[in-house]
Symmetry: C2
Subunit: 318 residues, 2 copies
C-alpha cells in the first residue's frame, strides 16, 4: 500500500485539499476558489493542476493510494454530486469519475458530514467505535451515522439527514428544505440566531443582545453575550440544548450509539451548549438507554478536519 | 451445512418452536406454555424435552444447523434475556448458553421485532433488500432496522426502539415506558383503542363505537366499525396513519430505507391504515426522499412468522 491519500473538501466558497499520511498528519495542503468557474470542467482543470503541483512539490506524485472527496449532496454510490444548492453547477456531476480520469487512482466521494464521521472514526474521538453518530453544527445541521462499524448510506446514498427530522410537529419554524419544524431550523448557527430574534421580540427583559440590530445577530453574538453572563443569551443556549437533547433521544432509540459526537462552529460553545444537551438527554431518555451514550466533542483540528475526513474515505476507495 | 434450523419464539403466553428448512418451510412445529414455570431451569427442561421429541419424530435430531430464538428484551451480543417485563423470570437469563448446553449447536437470540426483520429479509417481502425497516404493530410497536444488509444492534444490543421515539413533544399520552408522547402510545393496537376513547369522549357525533362500553373498545372494534363505513372509526385510522407517516419520515431521514415493512395485527387493517400512512408520508417527506421508500405489508404467514423469523437467525449463528 502506498503511504499517502489525498483529501478534498469542496465547500461553497473554497475547495481545500491536502496530502495525508496513515496517522492522520496533513503533510501539505492548499486551496482554490470553488465558485470561480461556472463550467465544472474548468473547475476540475484548475483543481487538478493545483493538486499536481502540491503532489510534485512534496515528492508524492506516485505515493497516492486514493482520493477522498467531501462535498454537499455527494452520493457515495454513484460518485456524483447531485444538484448541489451551494455549488455553481447543476444536475448530476460525475466528480469521482472526472478525478479518476485525471489521477488514475481510486476516488471515493461522500457528503461533508459523512466525511467528518469517517474522519472522526479514523483519526478522532470515535477511534475504535463501531456505533456512533456525528452531528455537524454549522450553517445547517448535518449528520453521519456509523453502525456495525460502517457508514449508513441507505438504499440511495442519502441516509443521515438528521438535520431534517421534525422536532416541532405543530407551529414549527420554516426550514430551508421547504418544510417546517426541522431540527436544523432550531439547532444550527442560523437557528440559534433565529431563536435570539424570537426571544428578543417576544420578551421585554434586558439583554446585551438588544445593543445589536436584531437582523444582524449571529450565534457568535449569542455566545459572546452568554459568556459575559447575559441571562437571555444563556436561556437561548438552554432552549437550543433542550431541543437537541430531545432529538438525540430519538436518535439513540434508533441506533443505540456508543457516542454522539458534535462538530462545527456551534459545538465550540462548550458547556454553554453541552450542559443543556446532556441535561435534556438525561431528562428525556428511555430508561433502557439511560447513561449509556456518551456526548462528545470532535477531536479533529478545525483547520484539518474537512481534509482529514475526506482523506479517510480514500483508504478504502476502490 | 446441515439441512435444518430451529426457530423458537418466546412470548408471554406461549413458546412456539419449529423445524425450518432453507427455503422457509416449517417442517414441523409445537408449543409449550411459557408462564407455567417460575424457575427458568424448569422451563428450559420442558422446552428441551419437547424440542427433542419434535426433532426425533421428524428424523431431524442430527440435521440441525443451529437454533434461533426471538424473545422480549433479548440481547444478541450477550445471549441473555434481560429483565423481561412480560416473562416470569427476573434478571439476566443466559438463554442462549442454556440451550447451547442442551443441544450442542450454535444458538443466536434477539428480540421479536429483530427476528421478524431477519425473517422478512430471509424468506419474505424484503428478500434481496439491504436497507429496510420492519415495524411490528401489536400490543406495542416494535422495530428491526436493517442497513447495509445487517441488522443494527447498536453498541449495547438494544437499537431499534422506534416505538419509543417521541411523536408528541407537548401534552403527549403517557406511555408504558414511563415517558409521554411515544409512537407506541398512539400507533399500537392499544394506542388505537385509546384514540377511540379520546374521540368518543371529546366529540358528539354518532358512531357504532358508542354501542360498546368505552373501556372495552379494542382496535378490532374500530376496524370492524370502519369497514362498515363508520365515519368516526375511519377518522381514527386517519389520525393513526397521519402520526405514523410523520414518524416514518423521520426514520427515512435517518437510514433512507428501500422499504418500511409493516407486520402484526394492526397491519391487517389494510388500506384503512396503509392509505393514511402513505398520504402522510407523501405530505411530510423531505423532497430528497420523495417517492423513494416503499410502504409494504409483511409476506410472512402469521402462524409461521415468529418461528420463521427466529429460525432465520440460526443460519448465521456461531
Amino acid at each position: 500500500m502506498k503511504p499517502y491519500v489525498v483529501g478534498i473538501d469542496i465547500g461553497g466558497t473554497n475547495t481545500v485539499f491536502g496530502i495525508v499520511d496513515a496517522r492522520g498528519n496533513v503533510i501539505a495542503s492548499s486551496s482554490i476558489k470553488t465558485a470561480k468557474h461556472s463550467d465544472v470542467n474548468d473547475y476540475i482543470n484548475e483543481l487538478s493542476e493545483a493538486l499536481d503541483n502540491l503532489l510534485e512539490s512534496n515528492d508524492a506524485a506516485d505515493k497516492i493510494n486514493g482520493i477522498g472527496v467531501g462535498a454537499p449532496n455527494a452520493n457515495f454510490f454513484t460518485g456524483c454530486v447531485e444538484n448541489p444548492a451551494n455549488l455553481p453547477w447543476n444536475g448530476e456531476i460525475p466528480l469521482a469519475q472526472m478525478l479518476k480520469d485525471r489521477f488514475n487512482v481510486p476516488v471515493a466521494i461522500t457528503n461533508d458530514a459523512n466525511a467528518a464521521a469517517i474522519g472522526e472514526m479514523t483519526y478522532g474521538v470515535a477511534r475504535g467505535m463501531k456505533d456512533f453518530i456525528m452531528i455537524t453544527l454549522g450553517t445547517g445541521v448535518g449528520s453521519g451515522i456509523v453502525a456495525n462499524g460502517q457508514l449508513i448510506y441507505g438504499h440511495d446514498g442519502f441516509a443521515g439527514e438528521l438535520g431534517h427530522v421534525t422536532v416541532k410537529p405543530n407551529n414549527g419554524r420554516m426550514c430551508g428544505c421547504g418544510r417546517t419544524g426541522c431540527l436544523e431550523a432550531y439547532c444550527s448557527a442560523t437557528g440559534v440566531a433565529r431563536t435570539a430574534r424570537e426571544f428578543l421580540e417576544t420578551r421585554t427583559d434586558p439583554s446585551r443582545l438588544r445593543d445589536i440590530p436584531i437582523e444582524d445577530i449571529t450565534s457568535k453574538d449569542v455566545y459572546d453575550a452568554a459568556v459575559l453572563g447575559d441571562k437571555l443569551a444563556k436561556e437561548i443556549f438552554q432552549y437550543t440544548g433542550d431541543i437537541m437533547g430531545r432529538a438525540f433521544c430519538n436518535f439513540i432509540a434508533f441506533s443505540s450509539p456508543e457516542a454522539i459526537v458534535l462538530f462545527g462552529g456551534l459545538a465550540k460553545s462548550g458547556d454553554l451548549l453541552m450542559k443543556p444537551i446532556q441535561e435534556s438527554i438525561d431528562r428525556n431518555i428511555m430508561s433502557a438507554f439511560k447513561g449509556k451514550t456518551k456526548l462528545l466533542l470532535s477531536e479533529l483540528k478545525d483547520s484539518d478536519a474537512a481534509v482529514l475526513g475526506a482523506s479517510a474515505l480514500a483508504w478504502e476507495a476502490r
